[in-house]
Each structure stands twice: as C-alpha cells, then as structure tokens.
Subunit: 356 residues, 2 copies
DNA sequence: CTGTTAGCGCTTTCAT
DNA sequence: ATGAAAGCGCTAACAG
C-alpha cells in the first residue's frame, strides 16, 4: 500500500480529522488558526495529514466559504509575449506583484487575445478584483469587468464608470517634453504607439490626435501637438510614424524611414525610451549628430534612459502598479480617481539646450 | 431603487431563477449548457440576470463543484521584475499563455520572493497544476509542489520525483557552443548565470561546476569545461565571471572587468544572448575586434542574436513553454520526462571560422 | 481549547 | 426540455 498513490484520490479535511480522532473543526483550525489549537492536538492532526498525504485545505472550497479568492486579476490588453517585451509593463507588473506578495495574494494574468472569448475568461476568473493595463476606449473587456461588480482599476485609461483610474496626465507631460524636443527645430516628427486596436503602422502627416482610441496615444499626440503649436510649428506638417508595437527594433526601422525622407526631421519625440533608443540607433547609423542634427526625446525614464543620455519624462510605473493593486485589494477605488500621478522632465544630452 | 447598487450584494443563481420563474437548474444550464435550454427560457433567464446585475456563475463555487479551477499556476523563481526582464522568460511565458488561451484556462503567476511564505502561497493557489521555471536544487517550493499531488512540470530542472521535466541538454549544448567560442583561443573566459540562490557575483577562476545549485548554470559550466578540456585548455585557469542577474547591463560591466585584466580573454562564452550583447558592447567600447581579438558566443538565439551576428545555441523556449503547459493540462506528465528538447548551433560572425 | 450546526453557490445525478 | 435532491470541502458562528 503506497502512501502517495498515483490516483488523484482527493484527501479531505474530514478524513484527516477522523484519522486524528478530532472534529473537523479542530482539523480546520490547525490550518487556518493554529493558535486556537493546543500543541498536542496540532501535532496529532499534522501527523494524520502527513500519513494521508493531505497538503492543506482545498483552495476552491476555502474561497467559496470565505467569499474571497485571495487572488488579484491583471488584464493585459496584449498577447503576453508583447506585454512582457515592454520593460515598463514589466515594472508595472512588478509593482503589483510586490503588493500581492505582501498580502499573500496570488496574481492571475488575463491576456487579451482579441477573440470573443476574452470577456468570458475575465468573467470566469476566480479573482477578488482587477487591474487593467492600458487599453483602448472600445475594449469589450472593460464592459465585462464593469459587469462583475468587483473592485477594479484601469491604468492610464480609458475612464470607466465605477472603475478606478491611475496614471499621469499624459497630455501635459507630452506637451512639456515636446517643447524640449522641438525647441529650435524646423521639422519635428513624432514616433507614436499604435492609435487603435487595428495597430496599423506607417508614417502619417497631421494625424488628428482625437482619432486615436488608445487614450495614452491620444493624449500624448495631443500634448506633442500643443508643444508644436506653442513653438509656432504647424502640426499639419508634422510626420507621425506609428509603430504597431512598443519596441526598439520597430522604432529603429520607422526612424530610419523618417530620417531617409527628403525633409529629414531635426527633432523626434518618441512615446517611450525604447522607441527613443531605436531613434538614436538609426541616427547613429545614418551619422546624424544628436542633438545638433536631430534632437530626440523618450518617455518613462526607464533603466536605459540614463545611459543613453536621453531627455525624457520620469514617472514611476512601479509605484503606479502598487497604487492600482492597493486600491483594488483595499476595496478603496476612491483612492484611484484620476490621472494625477507624479511625473517630471529629466533633461539630458539628447535635446538642444543641454541638460539642466 | 438602483439596479446596480454599490453594495457588493452578491446575486446568486437562485435569485435569478426565482425571478425568471424557473428552477435553479434551468438557470444553471443557461450558462453552462445553453443548448439544453429552450430559446424562450434562455431569454427569460438572461433578462432576469440582467435586471439583477448577475454577471455569471461564481467561479469559486463552480470550481469546487466541478473539481477543477481551469487555471494553471506558473512558478517563477524570481521577483517578477527580474523574471520579466529576461526576454527568454517572456517567450517561455508567452508559449504557456498560448496554450492557456486555447483551452480557456487562466494563468496564475506565483513569484517566489525567497521568504518562507512562498511555499504557502503555492499550496493555497487555486490551480489545477504547475509549471516551474528553472530553479535551484534546494528551492523549498519544489517540495511544496510535490506535496500537493497535482500535475507539475519543471523547466530545465532540477528533476523532482513525480514532476515532469522539460528542457534541453544544457551540458551538450554548452560543450558544442564552447568549442566554437574557444576554438583558436588561448585565454577563454565564461560569463555565467548565478551559481546559487545567494546570487553572489564576481570573477572566479577554475570554478567547479558541481558546486552550482542552479542546474542550468551547473550544466552549462560543465559543458564549457568539457569544450575547454577537449581543446587542450586548462579549465583551472579559465576566468568565470558570475552575474547576479541575466541582463545586458550587468554582463557589460562584468565583461569590462574581464577585458581590463592583464591576461585579457580572447574568447568569452556567455550563458545568454543578453549577456553576449553586453560582452559585445564592452568589446566595442574597448575597441577590441570581434571575433579576431575576442570571440563571443551567446545562448538561446533570441531576437537580438541575428542582428548582432552572434554565434549561439538555438532553442525554442516558446515551444518548451507550450510543451510544459500541455503536459500539465493534459495531465500527461509522462510526456515531459527529460531534457531532450531540440537545440542547434547557429554559427554567425562573432566566432572565428566564420558563419557556416 | 474543542465540537455542533449550517450553508457558501453551484452542478452532477437521476427523475419527469 | 425542465426539475428535485444531494453534496463538492470547507469555515463562520456559536455553543460547551
């Protein structure tokens, strides 16, 4: 007779209790409130459990009875491979994971594939609440989350009735960094995140920010436009290179195209440091001096920005991740009521006027 | 009277059934087996549900009753921030996520923080099985997973009784790539992953592979030693620079140290393409020609390897992730019985002898 | 410190 | 096509 038989023969607390000759409640307390049980009894119960191969209370049963799952759901509006390729998404998730670890919470990832089953996966997730990583205005998953009546926070928008919102004022930040990027420039250009779920890419001119359905993209485009206009530049002539994904390789390719054009840009404002790194690489290849021939700005002040001398917008995605997780786990959505997270301009050597 | 009152007043299927004037079972079928219910009744039930703000069956109750959670657990032996910073870990996770999406499974991430609570978090996770991303021989979480008697697969080791194992033969692959790296070299060096959970870093000489408790590190060190010995080089004189984390920045720093030494290495075998990229950067800064003055090899043939002209070991972490997930979800651990995943040497321009 | 009772919300039988 | 009964495994609430 093997103790660890192969069959997934489930051992229950009742069996353990019977074997230890105690009531089921005593066995239960042994696990959930050890202090309430005498040393001797506890030993007896654990011995019986070990003999039977009982590994602790069933999580589903416990969740049902307690009314909470001790798990947080994180909705990523992308296939996992893309989401993890974004260093800032990683930092954001790490912030969430910190809070979860502190509170002994699990973390369920809900990657959105774009298929109709996405909403169902969200509805069926055994979680106590949700954090949604940046998505588009028209993401059907948002309605599903709204419908389940569990605490949820959306990072960076869109705002959804009943859900919390955390992030920075992207328009204001883009305007501020855009002024540095475009200062003294004649032909500014923008390297953009995708404008909508279709994720079309290519260079457009005079792109209307309002047409973008990703709030982050929309707000940053609007901010860049504000900056251009304030500097007396015509937005309708600004080339906007839209990339399907936020990564260095695509950005470099797009920057190569921009820089090869007749009216070569003399300033490029990118939407992330990764993209800006691609621009710097393309500029280096084409032997254009930064910032004299091309000024470049990033966004996020990620780990690579310092080494690259990148003028950028500093914000803490890690702290924002923690704020999202706390708001959800504390069921305090009121603490997540807007895009008011702190940000700051970090001037370095990639823009004209030097680092201040 | 608001329909969507704030209070987390849980709506149950029984209430929906009552309102729709049908039995609880009919209401249940409406969700779990719509075909078994007439069109008219289904509409009636859904209408009642909408009126009450019922968002579908409670996941915990369903899990308890059905005996499965429809969620897969993924154990990462690192803080999330580090795990996500490793592009190959991201690819591996993406592979797992693919399989989960196909089968309408959720994905719970269990980051290991190194604290005693880790094992508990694993035990309490409401998942049907586990995939464990590379860890050390002495990771206490392995015993916890073994104890819960649910299907589990460990990627790249260590082997654990009753758990599946997926990965490549790292020693053989390291030996093969090491021969290319060290061919024609006099002073080979190695850039290594951490040897144990302590994650000490620094340059060591003649490091005994057997002392490493991370199987991947141990096997690759052993393979590099095999290669060195076969080429008539003395392992006891080989400098091994151990990095605490697998990333480009740390690797570049370590490579800088190696290259600044009196006996400058003329070949560096790294344990990942990220590390190799760091070596290339350090070599470029120091103006050493690759491969003539320094040959460099990577590992994994990741997205960056091609662009860098890196000679490396190709393997598909994505496919391995899928294999792990399938083995667990099919409860077919037998299909994951060893380190026999395919790998191949990809010769490029970073090693002497050119690309073949 | 330990035990009894009740029931979390759902779905698997097995009827009708 | 619909329904009644039973119980998944556990723990809150209340005794003793």
């Amino acid at each position: 007779m093997t103790t660890t038989a192969d069959g997934a023969r489930r051992v229950t607390l009742a069996q353990v209790a019977a074997r230890a000759r105690v009531s089921v409640m005593t066995a239960s307390y042994t696990y959930s409130r050890p202090a309430r049980v005498s040393e001797a009894t506890r030993t007896k119960v654990l011995k019986a459990a070990a003999e039977l191969g009982y590994a602790g209370p069933d999580p589903s049963a416990r969740s049902l009875r307690r009314g909470r799952t001790a798990t947080l759901g994180v909705v990523l509006g992308e296939r996992l491979g893309y989401a993890f390729a974004d260093p800032q998404a990683a930092v954001f998730l790490a912030g969430i994971a910190d809070v979860c670890a502190d509170r002994e919470y699990g973390l369920t990832i809900l990657p959105i594939t774009g298929s109709p089953g996405d909403a169902d996966r969200v509805r069926r997730a055994a979680v106590d609440g949700f954090v949604v990583w940046t998505t588009s205005d028209d993401d059907p998953v948002l309605a599903a989350i709204q419908a389940v009546h569990r605490p949820a926070v959306v990072h960076s928008g869109p705002p959804v009735d009943g859900l919390g919102l955390v992030g920075i004022d992207n328009r204001a930040a883009a305007r501020a960094i855009g002024r540095l990027a475009f200062a003294g420039a004649q032909r500014p250009a923008v390297l953009s995140f995708p404008t909508d779920r279709g994720r079309g890419s290519g260079v457009r001119t005079g792109l209307d920010p309002a047409t973008a359905t990703f709030p982050v993209t929309r707000d940053r485009l609007a901010g860049f436009r504000d900056a251009a206009v304030e500097l007396g530049l015509s937005w309708s002539e600004v080339n906007v290179a839209v990339c399907a994904r936020n990564n260095r390789v695509e950005a470099e390719q797009a920057a190569r195209e921009l820089l090869a054009a007749d009216a070569r840009p003399d300033a490029v404002a990118a939407m992330s440091d990764e993209q800006a790194a691609g621009v710097l690489a393309a500029a280096a290849t084409a032997r254009y001096a930064v910032p004299d021939q091309v000024a470049v700005t990033g966004f996020d002040d990620s780990a690579i920005a310092h080494g690259l001398g990148l003028t950028t917008v500093a914000q803490s995605l890690g702290e924002q991740g923690r704020a999202c997780a706390r708001a959800v786990l504390d069921d305090d959505i009121a603490s997540a009521r807007g895009l008011d997270a702190p940000w700051a301009i970090v001037g370095r050597s990639s823009t004209r006027g030097g680092s201040t």
